[in-house]
C-alpha cells in the first residue's frame, strides 16, 4: 500500500504478532505497520470485521492495537521503540490486558 521515499534514518525492529518488522525512528506504530504492508491492525468488537488505520491523526480509533500487553492503544499516536511487541486486536478487548 505504501513505500518509503528513501531508506535513510536509523532503523529498529519490533514484532507484530510475533513476526519481526523493520521500522524507522519517527515512525508511529500504525505507520510502521502500513510500511510493512500489514493490511489490517484489528477486527471490530461489533461484527468482527477487519480494519486498518484510517485517519492517522488520532480521531478514528481504527488503528487500535495491543502494545506490550496493553490493549486498545491508538497506533497512530504511539512512537515505535526497539523491541516493541505489537499484537493485532481481535474483536472485543480482553479485560486484564
Amino acid at each position: 500500500m505504501f513505500k518509503r521515499l528513501d531508506d535513510a534514518g536509523t532503523t529498529m525492529t519490533l514484532t507484530v504478532d510475533g513476526t519481526p518488522i523493520r521500522a524507522r525512528s519517527g515512525d508511529t506504530v500504525a505507520v510502521a505497520m502500513l510500511a510493512a504492508g500489514i493490511d489490517h491492525c484489528r477486527t471490530t468488537p461489533v461484527n468482527d470485521v477487519p480494519r486498518a488505520p484510517y485517519c492517522l491523526m488520532g480521531v478514528c480509533f481504527d488503528c487500535l492495537v495491543t502494545i506490550d500487553g496493553v490493549g486498545s492503544r491508538q497506533g497512530c499516536l504511539v512512537p515505535v521503540r526497539e523491541g516493541m511487541k505489537v499484537e493485532t486486536q481481535l474483536g472485543k478487548r480482553e479485560a486484564g490486558r
Partner: protein, 465 residues
C-alpha cells in the same frame, strides 16, 4: 519528555493543540511573560498542516511546498518562546471551572488554568460511502500525514476521490514525491461553480487564487481527473476495486477527502455554545472578535473556530493570545491586535468562494441503505433513517437507541452524518436537529487513571454507602 508528575498544579495559560494557532498563541503569550503550557497529543508539534515540521524525513523541499516549510518559523519561535511544550499529552477533559484533565504516558493529572486557548483544529469531514470502512480506504489527510511525518508514499494502484483544495494539494505533493495515482475522482457538483460566482471577486484578490490555479494545472497535467456522481469501495477483507458511475477500477488504496470541519469535541464538552454554519455545513463555536467562547476564560482559535486554513489559524491564535495576556497581565506589552486582524482578513477573504465551490454533494453527506454511518458501532444509514421515522428527533435519542456515537471515537466520524440524516429524514434543518451532547473523557483514559484523580470526602460519600 515531560512527565505528568513534572507538571505544575496550575498555569496561567493552557494552550491545547500544537498546530499553527496553538504555536502562535503559546509563543505570543510566553514572550509577554505569561506562564504558558502547550499540550499536544502527537509525538511532535506542527499540528496536521505542519505535521513533522521539526522531524520530517522528506528532504526535497519542493515536494511539500513553501506553504509547509513556512511552518518551520512558527515551530522555532514556539520552542524558544519559554512556553512549556508537552507532546504525547492527551487532554481528555476541560470544564467551565478551567480544570484541564491531561494524560501523559498513561498517567492522568488535573491542571488548573486561569485562561485556556483551545486550538484543536479541524478534522476531515466524514465521507460515508459504501465500503469506506475497508482496509485500503483512508483519508487523504492520512496519506499526507504519512508523507510529511514519515516520508511514506502510496505504492500500488492508488485512487483519490472527493473534493476540496486539500485534495488537490495532496495530489500535487504525491506526484512530486513520485507516487503514481491511477485517477482522481472529482465529486464536486458541477453547479457549485455557478453558485460560487458571486464570491469570485473576493477570491481573486486573495492569495488562494493564484495558488489554486497553479495546483489545478499541475495536477490535471499529470493525472487523470474524472468528474463523478457516485463512488463505492469494494472488497471482501480489503479494498479490491473502486466503483464510480457504474465503472470499476482495480485499486489497492483509495484516498477520500471532502473538506475539513472544526474538531469541536473538547469545546462542546467544555460547555461552549455552538451553532450550525450552513455555508461550511458544520457546527462551530459561537465566538467574539477575540475568539472568546461562551464559557468565560475559554477561547477557541484556529480552524476549530471555523475553517480558514493554516496562516489564518496562526493569526487567530495571536489575537486570542493577546486577549488572554491583557486579561492576565494588563501591564504586559503586546503587539497591536489590529495587525493580526488585517492579516486574518486577507487570509479569510477567499474562503466564501471555496466553501461554496467545494460544497460536498448531498449524496456524499447523507448516505442511504446499508452504508455505515457510525464506524465504531457499525450503525447503518438505514437504521438511523428508520429510527428517525419512529419519532427519534435528535442525535442524543438516536445514540440511546442505536449506540451511534458511543464508540471510542465519540462521534467524531459520525456526528455530522447522524445530524444530517435525521434532518433529511424528518424534513428539518441540521440547526434544528442539533449535535451530540458530549461528556468527558473526550478521549478515552483508563479506569486506573480516572481512579488516581483527587477525591473529596463529599464525592466519596456520594458513592460509598
Amino acid at each position: 519528555m515531560t512527565e505528568a508528575s513534572e507538571l505544575a498544579a496550575s498555569y496561567e495559560l493552557v494552550v491545547i493543540g500544537g498546530g499553527p494557532a496553538g504555536l502562535a498563541a503559546a509563543t505570543l503569550a510566553a514572550q509577554a511573560g505569561v506562564q504558558t503550557v502547550l499540550f499536544d497529543e502527537n509525538p511532535g508539534i506542527g499540528g496536521q498542516i505542519y505535521r513533522g515540521i521539526t522531524s520530517t524525513p522528506v528532504r526535497d523541499r519542493a515536494v511539500l511546498g513553501d506553504d509547509y516549510w513556512a511552518g518551520g518559523a512558527l515551530a522555532d519561535e514556539a520552542r524558544t518562546s519559554g512556553a512549556l511544550i508537552v507532546n504525547g499529552a492527551t487532554v481528555w477533559t476541560l470544564d467551565p471551572t478551567l480544570t484541564v484533565g491531561v494524560s501523559i504516558a498513561g498517567k492522568a493529572r488535573l491542571i488548573q488554568a486561569k485562561r485556556v486557548i483551545v486550538a484543536t483544529g479541524s478534522l476531515e469531514r466524514p465521507f460515508p460511502i459504501p465500503g469506506w470502512t475497508l482496509p485500503g480506504v483512508m483519508t487523504a489527510g492520512a496519506a499526507q500525514t504519512a508523507l510529511k511525518a514519515q516520508g511514506l508514499v502510496p505504492a500500488g494502484r492508488t485512487v483519490m476521490a472527493g473534493s476540496g483544495p486539500l485534495l488537490w494539494l495532496l495530489a500535487a505533493q504525491l506526484i512530486r514525491a513520485g507516487a503514481k495515482i491511477e485517477a482522481l475522482l472529482d465529486t464536486t457538483p458541477r453547479l457549485n461553480w455557478l453558485r460560487a460566482l458571486p464570491f469570485t471577486p473576493d477570491f481573486m484578490i486573495s492569495p488562494l487564487w493564484s495558488k489554486g490555479l497553479k495546483l489545478l494545472r499541475e495536477v490535471k497535467a499529470k493525472m487523470l481527473v474524472i468528474p463523478v456522481g457516485s463512488v463505492e469501495a469494494v472488497g471482501s477483507d480489503k479494498l479490491s476495486e473502486v466503483v464510480f458511475d457504474g465503472r470499476r477500477v482495480p485499486a489497492d488504496l483509495l484516498l477520500l477527502h471532502q473538506g475539513v470541519v472544526p474538531n469541536v469535541n473538547l469545546a462542546i464538552a467544555a460547555g461552549a455554545e455552538h451553532r450550525w454554519n450552513s455555508r461550511q455545513l458544520c457546527f462551530e463555536p459561537v465566538l467574539d472578535r477575540d475568539f472568546n467562547s461562551s464559557v468565560p476564560g475559554i477561547a477557541v482559535a484556529g480552524d476549530g473556530a471555523g475553517i480558514a486554513g493554516g496562516p489564518a489559524a496562526a493569526e487567530r491564535g495571536r489575537i486570542a493570545a493577546i486577549a488572554a495576556v491583557r486579561a492576565l497581565k494588563p501591564s504586559a506589552s503586546v503587539p497591536d491586535p489590529q495587525t493580526a486582524r488585517n492579516a486574518l482578513q486577507r487570509e479569510e477573504s477567499g474562503r466564501a468562494f471555496l466553501d461554496v465551490a467545494y460544497r460536498p454533494a448531498d449524496a456524499f453527506r447523507r448516505p442511504t441503505g446499508e452504508t455505515i454511518a457510525c464506524r465504531c458501532e457499525e450503525v447503518t444509514a438505514k437504521q438511523v433513517r428508520d429510527n428517525a421515522d419512529l419519532g427519534c428527533e435528535g442525535p442524543n435519542q438516536m445514540k440511546a437507541f442505536l449506540r451511534c456515537g458511543m464508540g471510542p471515537c465519540q462521534g467524531r466520524l459520525c456526528g455530522l452524518t447522524i445530524t444530517e440524516l435525521i434532518a433529511d429524514q424528518r424534513h428539518t434543518t441540521p440547526a434544528e436537529v442539533g449535535y451530540y451532547r458530549l461528556r468527558p473523557p473526550v478521549k478515552p483514559i483508563t479506569l486506573a487513571e480516572l481512579a488516581s484523580l483527587p477525591i473529596s470526602e463529599a464525592e466519596r460519600k456520594a458513592v460509598e454507602r
